[in-house]
């Protein structure tokens, strides 16, 4: 039933997505962007709604497809005490939504030379000692739009289990929502990235990668590189389109 209504709303609002007039929009909701009320068509994404309301993205939007993690947003819905977190490009507006985007989580990203680091829990704690502050509140897990078991990967990181961190954090898109909410002020995604890099060091290099690296260093592709480097902008664009067509990408 609910499904059906949503489907009808979506059809009725097809106009918005394809860029037709307001007059064609049949269903509206009110949302509050940074406290100011806006009437926007129902069923569009938060990202579309923010643009519909007249804002232009300078930061806070990237792939528009749920992959880049640039569009982190926190919101509450009227009548619900919970502070929720979502990706603006992947979440639909709801009536009575209060929202603000948090396009960047202020976080220091330590620099390291991965070749020189020992793959161990000690290395993780050297760069991210704040991992030790986790109180197991699970707030990060509840905030994650990728539905990862974030607390579990932080716990695994604390005990130096690089393999578990890698597996549990693999789909992290570094949106930073976990870190914004964490009472222990942990920077989850940077720690997980270091853990994955360290874990990667323990794995054997795949045959095909080894093979490719060998060919590159033997100069097998040198001629082709030189040719591409010498092309002008238009020729490059044409080449790109041709490649994509061959892969079945562009129409």
């Amino acid at each position: 039933m609910g499904q059906e209504i949503m489907e009808r709303i979506r059809e009725a609002n097809e106009a918005v997505i394809t860029g037709i007039e307001d007059a064609d929009v049949k269903h509206w909701v009110t949302i509050y962007i940074m406290g100011k009320a806006y009437k926007v068509p129902a069923d569009i994404t938060l990202m579309q709604a923010i643009e519909y309301a007249g804002y232009r993205f300078v930061r806070g939007a990237g792939c528009r497809a749920g992959f880049c993690g640039a569009c982190a947003t926190v919101y509450r819905v009227a009548g619900d005490w919970r502070l929720k977190a979502a990706l603006a490009c992947q979440t639909r507006v709801e009536d009575g939504m209060y929202l603000v985007q948090i396009p960047f989580a202020p976080a220091e990203k330590p620099t390291y030379r991965i070749e020189e680091e020992e793959p161990s829990g000690t290395t993780l704690l050297k760069y991210f000692p704040e991992l030790a502050r986790c109180v197991a509140c699970n707030t990060c897990t509840k905030a994650c739009p990728q539905e990862l078991e974030v607390m579990d990967y932080i716990q695994a990181a604390l005990r130096g289990d690089l393999e578990a961190v890698t597996e549990l954090s693999f789909d992290c898109i570094q949106c930073g929502l976990c870190s914004i909410r964490c009472p222990a002020e942990i920077v989850h995604y940077h720690a997980a990235q270091l853990a994955r890099r360290l874990y990667g060091k323990t794995l054997p290099v795949p045959k095909h990668v080894e093979e490719r690296v060998r060919k590159i260093s033997e100069g097998k592709y040198e001629e082709e590189f030189q040719r591409i480097m010498s092309l002008g902008r238009e020729e490059i664009e044409e080449l790109y389109k041709k490649e994509q067509r061959e892969k079945g990408g562009l129409k």
Binding site: G121, T122, K126, P129, E130, A132, R133, L158, R159
Partner: protein, 135 residues
């Protein structure tokens, strides 16, 4: 154990400063129960790093002397509870030390910076230190 006699006889509620009330509330301990026998100080293995002995911390609290808030002792205390098992009056001094730390930590100040961390310490050292010494 004999019944512990509370410290109410020593208390002058109208003269009791707010911070003393707060320490008692956070620790759940009766600082006026202490009769200054000094057993806690005698047993504390950390006194060389302290500016006030554990019994002195209790005494300054009884007197409402604010200098106790500046003391280094709570930051050197390792919550080892040697004092707690010894006190004949049943005062858990470690809880009083924790309350004094919390008065500072809950304002967002830290008693530990990351620069101090020796590489390779076990997790439990870091977890313990951050829980006791960071906000």
């Amino acid at each position: 154990m004999a019944e512990v006699i509370k410290g109410d006889a020593l208390r002058i509620p109208s003269r009791e400063p707010e911070f003393v009330r707060r320490v008692e509330e956070l620790s759940g301990e009766d600082v006026f129960a202490c009769y200054q026998c000094g057993k806690c100080s005698a047993g504390c293995p950390f006194t060389t790093g302290m500016d006030l002995l554990p019994a002195e911390v209790l005494r300054l609290l009884q007197l409402g002397d604010e200098r106790v808030l500046e003391s280094r002792s709570p930051w050197v205390c390792a919550s080892c509870l040697a004092c707690e098992v010894r006190c004949p009056k049943g005062v858990d001094i470690a809880k009083v030390m924790e309350a004094l730390r919390l008065l500072v930590l809950r304002k967002g100040e830290t008693g530990l910076t990351w620069r101090e961390i020796p590489p390779g310490v076990p997790q439990i050292a870091l977890v313990g230190a951050t829980r006791k010494l960071t906000p």
